[in-house]
C-alpha cells in the first residue's frame, strides 16, 4: 500500500518522451508549463531567466501538494510551517543577496520610495527595512496558515456532519451544503496559494536582479 501511494504521483506527470505530438495529458501539461514559465519570465530581464527552472518547478510542486492534499486520508506537507519556511527563507535570501551583490546601491535604494519628504526619511527607512526582513516570514506563514485553516475547517465541519447525522438529518444536510461550498473554495485556495507564493518570489526577484 505504501509503495503504491508513494509511486502514485509519478503517474500524474508523464515525462515527455521525444514525441512531437503527445497524448492529451502531456499536451495539456506542456501547455500549462509553458504558460506558467512565460508569465513568470516576461517581467524579468535576461539575467532573471536563470530562475525559470526553480520557479516553475516550485509552482508545480506547490500546486500538486496543495491539490493532492484535498483528497481524503492524505497529508499535505505545506501545512507544516517547517517546510514552508524551508522553501521561503532561502529563496527570499537568494533574491536579496543577488540584489546586494550585483547592484548594491540600487537594491538598497529600494528601501526608500521616491518622492518622500526629507524629514520622513529615517522613519521610512526603518519601516522599509522591517517590511523587507519580514518577507520570508510572511511568505512561509501565509502558505501555512491558508492551507492549515482550510484543512482544519474541512475536518471540523465534516466531523460536525458525522455527529449530527443521526440526530438532526436536516441540519446535517445543510452543513453538507456548506461543506460543498467550502471544498470548492479549498480547491481555489490551493491553486491560488501556489501561484501567489511564486509570484511574490518573482516580484522580489525583479527588484533585485
Amino acid at each position: 500500500l505504501i509503495l503504491l501511494s508513494m509511486l502514485f504521483p509519478a503517474l500524474l506527470f508523464p515525462t515527455p518522451n521525444n514525441r512531437w505530438i503527445t497524448n492529451r495529458l502531456s499536451t495539456i501539461q506542456l501547455w500549462s508549463l509553458h504558460s506558467i514559465t512565460k508569465q513568470l519570465m516576461t517581467p524579468l530581464n535576461k539575467k532573471g531567466h536563470k530562475w525559470a527552472l526553480i520557479l516553475t518547478s516550485l509552482t508545480t510542486l506547490l500546486l500538486t501538494i496543495n491539490l493532492l492534499g484535498l483528497l481524503p486520508y492524505t497529508f499535505t506537507p505545506t501545512t507544516q510551517l517547517s517546510m514552508n519556511m524551508a522553501l521561503a527563507f532561502p529563496l527570499w535570501l537568494a533574491t536579496l543577496l543577488t540584489g546586494l551583490r550585483n547592484q548594491p546601491s540600487i537594491s538598497l535604494g529600494h528601501l526608500l520610495p521616491e518622492g518622500t519628504p526629507t524629514p520622513l526619511i529615517p522613519a521610512l527607512i526603518m519601516i522599509e527595512t522591517t517590511s523587507l526582513l519580514i518577507r520570508p516570514l510572511a511568505l512561509g506563514v501565509r502558505l501555512t496558515a491558508n492551507l492549515t485553516a482550510g484543512h482544519l475547517l474541512i475536518q471540523l465541519i465534516s466531523t460536525a456532519i458525522t455527529a449530527l447525522l443521526p440526530i438532526m438529518p436536516t441540519v446535517s444536510i445543510l452543513t453538507t451544503s456548506i461543506l460543498f461550498l467550502l471544498t470548492i473554495l479549498e480547491v481555489a485556495v490551493a491553486m491560488i496559494q501556489a501561484y501567489v507564493f511564486v509570484l511574490l518570489l518573482s516580484l522580489y526577484l525583479q527588484e533585485n536582479i
Binding site: 503504491l4 508523464p14 518522451n17 514525441r19 505530438i21 486520508y73
Partner: protein, 259 residues
Amino acid sequence: MPTALIGTVFESHLRLGFFKKLNGNFLIICSVLHTSRPLHTTQQCLAPLPPLPEKGGEVRYGLIPEEFFQFLYPKTGVTGPYMLGTGLVLYLLSKEIYVINHETVAAACILSVIIYGVKKYGSDVAAFADKLNEEKVAKALAVKNEAIKDLETAIEREKKEQWRVEGRNYLFDAKRNNIAMLLETNYRERLLTVYNEVKKRLDYQVAMQNLKRQKEQDHMIHWVEKNVVQSITPQQQKESIAKCILDLKALSKSAQAAV
C-alpha cells in the same frame, strides 16, 4: 536499470501477496517506470516511436478498465463485477476495516466536486488539448505548403525566364532595326542639311550675279538716257515741240469733229 527495479518489485509483490487484481500490478509497474525516468541519462531509443493509439483504454466509472468486466464475464455473467464490488464494500464496512469517520464525509464532498468538474469540463479540456495538437500539426503543414508553393512559383518564374531567353532574338532584331532606322534618319537629316547649305551658297552666287547684271543694266539704261537727253540739242527740242503742237491741233480738230 528499469528491468532490475521491476524485478525487485515483482519479488516484493509476490512476497506481500496483496492485490490479486490486475490493475494493482499494472499500476506498480507503471509508476516504477515513471519514477525511475529521471535516472535515465541517455535517450531511450533512436528509432521512430510507434504512433499513439487514437483512444485510451475503455473504462467504466472512470476507474475500472473494461477488461476486468470481460475477464469476469465467462464465470459470473454481467452482474459479476458489481456483485464483487458490493460485496467488497460491505465486507470492508461491516468488519470496520474501513471506518466511517469525518474523512468519509470530506471524501464524499471532494469526490463529488472532482466528478462534477470532470463531467462538466472534461470534453472542453480534451477539445482544447486536441486543438493545441492540431495547431502544431497545422503549423508544420503550413510551413511545408509554403515551401511547396514557393518552389512552384520559383519553377514558373524559371520557365518564364527560359521563354524570355528564346524571345530574346526577336528583341535583338527589333533593337537592331531601331538602331538602323535611327542611323538612317540621322544620315538623311545630315544629307538634307548639306543640301540646304550648298543650295544657300549657290543661291547666294546666283543672287550676286543677278544683282550684278541688274546693276549693269540699270547703269546702262541710265547712261543711255543721260546721253540721249544730252544729245537732244535745243533746236531739236524746239522742232519737236512745234511738231507736237501741230499734232495736237490736228487731234483736237479730229476730236471736235468726232463730238
